[in-house]
């Protein structure tokens, strides 16, 4: 299979506080893969994801996305690349005071004419698409509510709808279910799974729980203190590997 992302010797140092968040990380993600990032909090998962679309500037190393070097892209090229990499977040990151529909439509911003979008004017087709995306995540009736009136699970669905609007090749999810209860978590994970299987979207998601990773992940990449400590299939993670990733005192818990 073809590589979608190739990461080579990626280093990120946060100047403030002198934190070495990523230390020489190299890996590849294949097209259509469902990759799960594991690791304790502070291990560098969010940093890795944000380096891929350069929300965070890497300190050193290269990231190649579909044959194009993200790290060397001009700001215009970068915006074009970002259109193809959607992202959802632990805290949903919706614009709380805007309507649900506007939030979904903003997934389209990279494609539309900036002048038209400046006066909040979207094409009829875009609005129809946005409604279709909301229907797909099961909340079309919420379209005209303010985003902060929705429950956490519903907000994350809006996040997914916003990602769908981008018609992405890659979906990055930074602990998408950590702020949700277990039942809602599974329904959100199933949307990711569906996007992966039906729309051929490559998914890279960080998760807190190994049980979720085992259930949804095709491949697992575990980070510890900014370094890769494990790379392989979920089945390969035994007791020993688990302690290596999470530390000696950790116990595995099940999320049903």
């Amino acid at each position: 299979m073809e590589d979608l992302i190739r990461i080579e010797n990626l280093v990120k140092i946060y100047e403030r506080g002198e934190v070495l968040a990523l230390n020489d990380v190299s890996t590849t993600v294949q097209k259509g893969e469902f990759l799960v990032l594991l690791g304790l909090s502070g291990s560098g998962k969010s940093t890795l994801l944000r380096c891929i679309n350069r929300l965070i500037e890497p300190t050193a190393g290269t990231i190649v996305f579909d044959g194009k070097d993200v790290t060397k892209a001009s700001s215009r090229q970068l915006r074009h690349l970002r259109r193809r990499m959607a992202m959802i977040f632990q805290q949903f990151n919706l614009v709380k005071r805007s309507s649900v529909l506007t939030n979904v439509l903003s997934g389209r911003l990279g494609y539309v004419n900036p002048a038209a979008s400046a006066i909040h004017k979207f094409a009829k087709q875009d609005i129809a698409d946005a409604m279709a995306c909301l229907e797909r995540v099961g909340i079309p009736e919420q379209a005209y509510k303010r985003a902060d009136e929705l429950s956490g699970g519903q907000q994350q669905r809006v996040g997914i709808a916003r990602a769908l609007m981008q018609q992405p090749d890659l979906l990055m999810a930074d602990e998408p279910v950590s702020a949700l209860d277990p039942a809602t978590a599974h329904s959100i994970m199933q949307y990711l799974e569906q996007m992966n299987q039906e729309d051929d979207v490559t998914v890279v998601t960080s998760l807190h729980f190994l049980s979720l990773a085992r259930r949804y992940g095709a491949r697992i990449l575990a980070l510890k203190d900014g370094e890769i400590v494990f790379e392989g299939s979920p089945a390969e993670i035994d007791k020993v590997k688990f302690k290596e990733i999470y530390g000696e005192d950790a116990e595995e818990v099940e999320v049903r």
């Binding site: 230390n23 690349l81 005071r97 911003l109 902060d148 009136e149």
Partner: protein, 440 residues
């Protein structure tokens, strides 16, 4: 297992940015202590000497001598105890060499005397890779963040300074009240001096009502124009005056300059601007001078309020919009503006309210409108005219106050955003500061 760290991580090369930051904090600690001690000095000298020689008694000592003494005292305070500055900014002194006995005492003394003259104040660059200023290095100490040092039992003098200062301040306060009591009594015993004024006020001259109304319109118009032009300049300016939106070297420089200029402008009161502007744009154009004066102050004030709001926006949505491939202008339009629009409106109305009140005062120093007329009447002691004008002003200010309160309430309660009460609260305190504070 040994770790191989990426080259450049925690290198021994001096980190100037970091050193500058630490140096700034040290200076701040020092200045806080100096300010505390200088304040104490003034209080004590004021309290100790009879009131007919007045508050300026601390000046009987040459200013440089006072500063020198205070600086040395600050040094002693920092080296032997836990100074206010260290306490406030969370710094602790830690001995890097043997910390007991006479030698340690001598080293503390050395440090105290060195501190005011150390390159701390003049040469921030004389530092090693890990920032340690000269006075610490030579005396074998180190200041560390309070959380890094576990305090051993602290002797009484390292704890009771705050208590001592509070006691002294109270004493000074009590003494000053005793000395001014005589004048307070006059307020009640010599009321009869105002008989003439009271007689005129009781007999208002309603003939000036129409003319006064016209002048009031001029004043309201001045406030309106100043606010309008203020918005036009302050909204874009606030984006370069917000810390979180001005990253990088150029951004930081612009931020510092804009904020600096703004705080200078804000500290010059509108009535001073009027006096300057009347000379500048010629006296015939009085309302124009008033508008410009209010405009300058409005820009400075609004920009600060706006920028502070920008600084507290949720970065999450902004990041999310950026991640969709949106351009910078789209990020502002979709990620930032929805978060700030209501507070901005609220601040603007509040500022308009202030401008209405200020415009009468600006008029008094020659800025045109009803205020100017009021002062003229008071000059010629025509209080029956003045009282009518004052009533007009009162009605206008009251109406504006009510209107602005209603409007702001509408804006703020029109949303269920939990982040809102905090700025509503801030606005309230700001307003009461301005209404009852030392502005006028």
């Amino acid at each position: 297992m040994t770790k191989t760290y990426h080259a450049g991580f925690m290198s021994d090369k001096p980190n100037w940015g970091q050193a500058l930051k630490l140096w700034r904090r040290d200076v701040l600690v020092f200045l806080t202590d100096v300010a505390c001690l200088a304040g104490l000095w003034m209080l004590i000298t004021y309290a100790a000497i009879s009131p007919d020689r007045g508050v300026l008694v601390f000046l009987t000592v040459p200013w440089w001598l006072m500063l020198l003494v205070v600086a040395v005292l600050a040094g002693l305070w920092q080296s032997f105890g836990l100074s206010s500055g260290m306490k406030l900014l969370g710094r602790r002194l830690k001995a890097t060499q043997d910390a007991s006995g006479a030698a340690a005492f001598a080293r503390r003394l050395f440090r105290a005397l060195l501190l005011p003259f150390s390159p701390l104040l003049v040469l921030p660059v004389l530092v090693t890779a890990r920032y340690v200023p000269i006075h610490d290095r030579w005396s074998g100490f180190e200041t560390q963040s309070a959380t890094e040092v576990v305090d051993p039992k602290s002797p009484w003098y390292r704890r009771s300074w705050a208590v001592a200062i509070a006691l002294l301040a109270l004493t000074a306060f009590a003494v000053s009240v005793i000395f001014t009591r005589v004048n307070l009594v006059k307020l009640f015993t010599e009321f009869d001096n105002t008989a003439n004024i009271r007689a005129q006020i009781a007999n208002p001259n309603w003939g000036v009502l129409f003319e006064g109304g016209q002048l009031l319109l001029v004043t309201l118009f001045m406030a309106f124009m100043a606010t309008l032009f203020g918005i036009i300049v302050a909204v874009p300016l606030s984006f370069v005056a917000a810390r979180n939106l001005t990253q990088g070297l150029v951004g930081r420089a612009v931020y510092t300059i804009v904020r600096g200029i703004l705080s200078i402008l804000r500290s010059i009161q509108p009535f001073i601007w009027v006096i300057v502007l009347i000379v500048w744009v010629k006296a015939g154009n009085a309302p124009m001078a008033g508008v410009i004066a209010l405009f300058i102050h409005s820009v400075a004030d609004l920009t600060k309020l706006y920028a502070e709001r920008l600084e507290s926006i949720d970065p999450g949505p902004v990041e999310a919009i950026r991640a969709t491939g949106a351009s910078q202008s789209q990020v502002i339009m979709y990620g930032i503006i929805p978060q700030i629009i209501n507070p901005y409106m609220s601040f603007t109305i509040y500022r308009w309210d202030i401008n209405v009140r200020m415009s009468t005062i600006v008029g008094m120093v020659g800025g045109g409108g009803i205020g100017q007329r009021l002062l003229q009447e008071m000059r010629v002691s025509d209080y029956s005219d003045a009282v009518v004008l004052m009533m007009l002003i009162m009605v206008a200010v009251w109406a504006m106050d009510t209107l602005s309160a209603r409007l702001r309430e509408r804006i703020e309660t029109g949303s269920s955003n939990p982040a809102l009460p905090s700025y509503a609260l801030k606005l309230k305190t700001e307003i009461s500061n301005r209404t009852f504070g030392s502005r006028w």
